[in-house]
Amino acid sequence: MKSFFLQSTTLLGFLVGWQILIKTAAISPLVLPGPLDVLHAVLHHHRELINETAVTAYEAILGFLGSAIIAYMIAIIFVHVRLLEQAMMPYAIGLKSIPLIALAPLIVMWCGEGVFSKIVMSALVSFWPILVGAVQGLRAIKPDALALMSSLGADKWQVLTKLRVPSSTGYTFAALKIASSLSVVGAVIAELVGSTRGIGHLINVNSYYLHTDLVFAGVAFISAVALALYGGLSVLEGKFRFWHERSID
């Protein structure tokens, strides 16, 4: 409660400071609008903002879900086929660390200006952290736990479902949360490169016409989507990982 109060005060202080700066320095709202200008834009264009945000959210969520499912399945294969993991895992770790965002123009060229290229971009950037996190999670098992399972004569499927998958949730959710933010970034960047809908498109058009207040409103809306995704995953994590230990005890 106390930290909530402190954090709200920080935000409020920031917004007030921003507004005061705009007024005292007489900065043109075309260059930097104040928070009140942005609020004004939100109230006047809320329908448009909501519609475009929905498009971007749709692209990001679809890209994220698709990559999460495929990445987790590949992680399971990697854990069982050592050779495949050895051959490919270093590349996965490498791809996780490079700005794949830079491929956005190509992806848009290949997949068109429609929704599909955004889903692909969003999936492409969120895929690698999930794959790496899931492999780490599925592998992070105490040797004694595996010895216990084999003393009970457990087969690979039982080891997977009763031990590996539940104990992978810690690493996996950490990766999913990172990837959820990346998926929104991926969708917006692809929209900025070329699109007819979405928040990226809204930002593009309105920055062209110097509707800076609406650009800020767009940023605020899409940030809310990213935060909501992250928050939703945290809630889900709480439901899936109700026990306290890092892995197993």
Binding site: K142, G153, D249
Partner: protein, 249 residues
């Protein structure tokens, strides 16, 4: 619960993790059903490997381990062995009773009374609690209940209580001894404590440090129950001294 454990025979059993690294070198011995055997030795003398090769968690490089008329592998698949490790390896996402039910679940056995097993260790009261809510000693007792739940005939304990404090450890040793007296399974355990070995076992195997074999096989002909008085007799102290000499302590 019924126990009629078969004899275990090791014939020229060698274990080498790599060609140059011989851990056990043609060990031959016989452990009769229902015996309580302690294995002592310095770190790296192959205590854990001996236990693992008996329980068929690792394969001997040469030689043969059998339980009664069957091979160790057949015995393991039938669920004749059960293991307790220094780490209780309870699954954090399962309640205590669900942890105890794990072996039956994996072996597709019906009619296993997990609650009765928890009752044996005096923990039926925490059956619906998660492991994170238990103390270290209680976790180890749940692990013991899990090991006893499926009527494995040979209980293999690898320094089971080594991570616990002195008082809890003494209490768990007493409990183990009580269960053994009552149920008469075969009990093979490793320990770093010579007094612990003498106060619990019928027989102490001393592993030699570098040669990978059994240095000495000492019969502990002290009366049971091993009360505090028994553990203060000259006989007891003499056995402790003999074993310590065998370990070059």
């Amino acid at each position: 619960m019924t126990f009629s454990p078969p004899d275990i025979t090791l014939e020229d059993v060698s274990v080498a993790y790599s060609p140059g690294e011989i851990v056990l070198d043609s060990v031959s011995t016989n452990i009769s059903g229902g015996q309580f055997v302690a294995v002592v030795g310095r770190s790296g003398s192959g205590k854990s490997s001996l236990l693992k090769v008996i329980g068929n968690l690792i394969q001997p490089s040469t030689g043969r381990v059998s339980a009664g008329t069957q091979s160790a592998e057949q015995a393991r698949i039938k669920g004749l062995f059960s293991f307790c490790f220094q780490d209780p390896v309870l699954f954090g996402w399962r309640t205590c009773i669900k942890n105890v039910e794990l072996p039956a679940e994996i072996m597709h056995r019906r009619g296993v009374d997990a609650l009765a097993a928890l009752r044996l260790v005096g923990l039926e009261g925490v059956k619906d609690n998660y492991p994170s809510e238990l103390s270290g000693g209680m976790k180890q007792r749940v692990a013991l209940a899990r090991a006893l739940s499926y009527e494995a005939q040979i209980l293999i304990l690898d320094e089971p209580f080594a991570a616990l404090d002195e008082i809890t450890r003494a209490e768990l040793n007493r409990q183990l001894l009580r269960l053994w007296t009552m149920l008469r399974f075969t009990c093979i355990f490793t320990t770093h404590s010579v007094t612990e070995a003498v106060s619990l076992a019928d027989r102490v195997l001393i592993l030699s440090t570098n040669k990978g074999g059994i240095e000495a096989d000492i019969k502990v002909d002290l009366p049971r129950p091993r009360t505090d008085e028994v553990c203060e007799t000259p006989n007891f102290l003499h056995l402790v001294r003999t074993i310590k000499e065998g370990l070059n302590l």
